[in-house]
Amino acid sequence: MPARIVAPGPWTTATVSGVRRPLPRTVQLRLDVDGRVDHLPGQHYVVRLTAEDGYTAQRSYSVASAPSDPLLELFVERLDDGEVSTYLADVVEPGDTFEVRGPVGGWFAWDGETPALLVGGGTGVVPLVAMVRHARATGREELLRVAVSARTLAELPYADELQAAGAVVVTTREAHGIRPAGRLTAVDLLPLWEQGQTAFVCGSAGFARTAGDLLVGLGFAPSSVRVEQFGPSGS
């Protein structure tokens, strides 16, 4: 198991090894990080960009890769008014370099050894993918139960990998299998519940709040539900 690193080291250089744009408005980056320290699945990295005049912008992105992957994989949603995500989505090419710092965060991180229920919405599935990959790499798939939500299957990041891992897939704008279009409900989560699980919930503020409420309603202790959110509240 990787060491529990909760405070990140200094800024270091990431060299872009691969760029894919698997879905519209997203970019998947494979990075070779100088002096990379193994992360825990669920942790994130900070990316810092520097303009010619010295202006810098930095944002945090969840890691999609397992710690055993020699490269660091980020999966970034392009926000129209985002100055870092638009650069990563529109400009970055293999061979480019920029600064990164990480891994960050000791809370939203799976230890790889205890049962966990993973609940993700949209690009909130990214840190959960790192957990799924880590379980596969260590032969501990039986520890994880996964439920993910997206508008449509085509808009679900890592859809093939998540389905191969047995994830329950909820689509809000189209039917999926025998399940009609609709939001995540307790009925979706109930079959995934097991004794001793820690729940990891990641998505927009609205999704995270709804999923957290569903889990507490199912009997999860609030202290065993770990939440990571992104995006504005809309207020």
């Binding site: 909760v6 990140p8 960009l49 010295g54 650069y87 503020a205 992104f230 509240s233």
Partner: protein, 203 residues
């Protein structure tokens, strides 16, 4: 310091707003929600705030009790460690000084652990919570503070990164020695001054 990132221009920036600490951006009208646990439901009728630990008069105020203290407002900026800053916010509640005047920290009491209904904790030096720099607030922009943003009552310490402004706060323990709270145990800084970019332990 490395050179520029190829092709990175960044936002158009006629002049950097002097209110923006280093590494931050102006989030505009948005107010992102960031919490680590499910959102607790707390009614004003059952909420209370307790000041205890190294104080001469440990005291608990309920909703009516805290409203009987002199109203105090904050107008200004807030800064989140995830790099957004929000300008010209308006909060109303009560200055923490009004609570300290009653509870009276002892001379050995130099640090505070704030605890929320959710179990969230954060540690701060007492001197960051005195002298008109910190509040308990229940109004934002003239309306009751919503539960997503820590309602009914949250801590407000706007000169530090916003994770120090504990949502759903119910207890302030005055300590002789600093102890780490929730994010501080998980890699974040013990003080969190945005102007010195004290984001992570060791910064």
């Amino acid at each position: 310091m490395p050179g520029p990132t190829r092709g990175f221009l960044g936002r158009t920036r006629p002049a950097r707003d002097p209110r923006l600490p280093p590494g931050q951006y102006d989030v505009g009208a948005d107010w992102p929600v960031l919490t680590a646990e499910p959102t607790p439901r707390i009614s004003p009728e059952t909420w209370s705030i307790t000041v205890a630990g190294n104080v001469e008069a440990p005291t608990t105020w309920d909703w009516d009790g805290v409203h009987a203290l002199p109203r105090s407002e904050y107008r200004g900026d807030i800064h989140c460690v995830t790099t957004w800053s929000k300008f010209d916010t308006q909060f109303a509640g009560v200055s923490l000084d009004a609570l300290w005047d009653v509870a009276r920290p002892t001379p050995e009491g130099r640090f505070v652990m704030a605890t929320s209904k959710s179990g969230y904790t954060t540690n701060l030096p007492l001197e960051d919570l005195t002298g008109g720099k910190a509040w308990l607030v229940w109004e934002f922009d003239g309306r009751p503070l919503t539960v997503e943003h820590g309602g009914p009552v949250r801590l407000l310490v706007p000169h530090l990164y916003f994770w120090k402004s504990a949502k759903w706060v119910t207890k302030l323990d005055v300590l002789k020695r600093d102890q780490q709270g929730f994010w501080e145990r998980n890699g974040y800084h013990d003080r969190g001054d945005p102007w010195r970019q004290q984001r992570y332990q060791g910064d």
